[in-house]
């Protein structure tokens, strides 16, 4: 369950992060303002509060919308969806900054060259800019994924039966809190190690296409 929440929230967060970064770099002021406000608010409010707000706040919002359509029963978002939305929002806020940095790091000439070739804006973005930005953003995103995985523990407070919640149940049954919370901690450590390995592999894959001489010269610059 922990893994499923992590994956779902990562996808939502990456989509939001891309949207946010595009908004923040847009030449249209209201978009920039919205993007900036999103990042500022998400980074200043505790994840736990966002989880609560989404879980308890959304049901009233949903009910208000449903009552327009003539539906008056009680609606409640299930903890899985509420958790994924809350963590996805958080991830998206931080990912916006990661993607923004990555987009800014891509040389302007790349876009101009693609436009000169007559590619459509859509293809310039998805064919030229995004693949390169992805490579730059990957280490930052990796860190975010590791943080996200630990944040999934927060969803246990709204009753989703993931690793932390299950552990609490075991603790209630056995009355051995230290043993079992330590076991859970070790399991999270295991997940962290697996994720780190996967991310390292992905980073290597993403760098495979770099020109060998490029890599060599960038190495020289570092020296």
């Amino acid at each position: 369950m922990t893994v499923r929440v992590t994956l779902a929230a990562t996808f939502l967060g990456i989509a939001l992060g891309l949207l946010g970064a595009t908004a923040r770099l847009s030449s249209f002021l209201p978009f920039r303002a919205i993007g900036g406000a999103y990042v500022g608010v998400i980074r200043g409010i505790p994840e736990l509060l966002i989880v609560f707000l989404i879980y308890f706040g959304s049901s009233r919002l949903l009910m208000a919308i449903a009552s327009w359509f003539g539906y008056h029963d009680y609606i409640e978002l299930n903890p899985f969806i509420a958790g994924v939305i809350a963590l996805g929002l958080t991830f998206g806020g931080y990912a916006t900054e990661v993607f923004r940095g990555a987009f800014l790091a891509i040389h302007k000439g790349q876009t101009e060259a693609a436009q000169a070739l007559g590619l459509s804006r859509f293809r310039v973005f998805f064919g030229i800019v995004l693949p390169q930005a992805w490579r730059i953003a990957l280490p930052g995103l990796g860190n975010l994924i590791l943080i996200l995985m630990k944040d999934t523990a927060l969803i246990s407070v709204i009753g989703l039966e993931e690793l932390t919640r299950k552990t609490s149940m075991v603790v209630n049954a056995t009355r051995e809190p230290f043993t079992w919370y330590l076991t859970a901690a070790v399991m999270y450590l295991g997940l962290t190690v697996i994720t780190t390995t996967l991310l390292r592999y992905m980073e290597e894959q993403s760098r495979k296409h770099e020109h060998p001489t490029d890599a060599a010269s960038s190495h020289l610059v570092k020296e």
Binding site: G40, V41, R43, G44, I45, P46, E47, L48, L49, I50, F52, L53, F56, G57, R60, L61, K150, D151, T152, A153, L154, S156, V157, T164, T167, S168, V171, R175, E176, P177, F178, T179, Y181, L182, A184, A185, Y188, L189, T192, V193
Partner: protein, 229 residues
Amino acid sequence: MDWSVVAEYYPRLIDGAWVTLQLVVLSGFIGIILAIPMALARISNKRCINQFPRLYIFFFRGTPLLIQIFLIYYGLSQFEWVKNSALWPFLREPYWCAVITLGLHTTAYIAEILRGALQAIPAGEVEACRVMGMRKFTMYRCILLPRAFGIMLPAYSNEIILMLKGSALASTITLLDLTGMARTIIARTYTPEEIYIAAGAIYLLISWMFMAFFKLLDRYFNKHRLVTV
């Protein structure tokens, strides 16, 4: 939406915010004090010395803060000798458990930040100290650590903001910090949106305060950079 509940209950939210501030400042203080020896041990060349900080940092950075809080608050009561020890009156209180856990947690992160800062100091400055014939202790106390604080300040202010957000987890062990207070108010009034949004606004205010404070600190510690630029 009925905002009058916020007007009615905001003194209690402020009480909660006060507890949150205490948690952040106390644990930040513990963190920086423990992080200095931890970072120095971490950059040591001797395996027997740098192995402990490595494990410590790996554990605290690799597991959720919530689990760490549960481990200390609920977990320690499993052992009779802890219950019989002189520290039990402290360890029984959710407040001190939260301070200890947040402190230990942030120690791991600050130690890594400090290590990065120490390693970012240009080698020439270290060599200059050696040429002057400084002892290692003097070198760290007068030159390297102050210099590292200047370098690590932006990362450290980030870490403090993360601690501010992490302190919300203390509400899960029945502590009435800002989040905990918001939850108790909501249990009475059934107005989750208004109170949570108000609490969120207070968190935002606190984080802006910290950022302004760190900007001042930055100006103090990095004076030399302002002059040259």
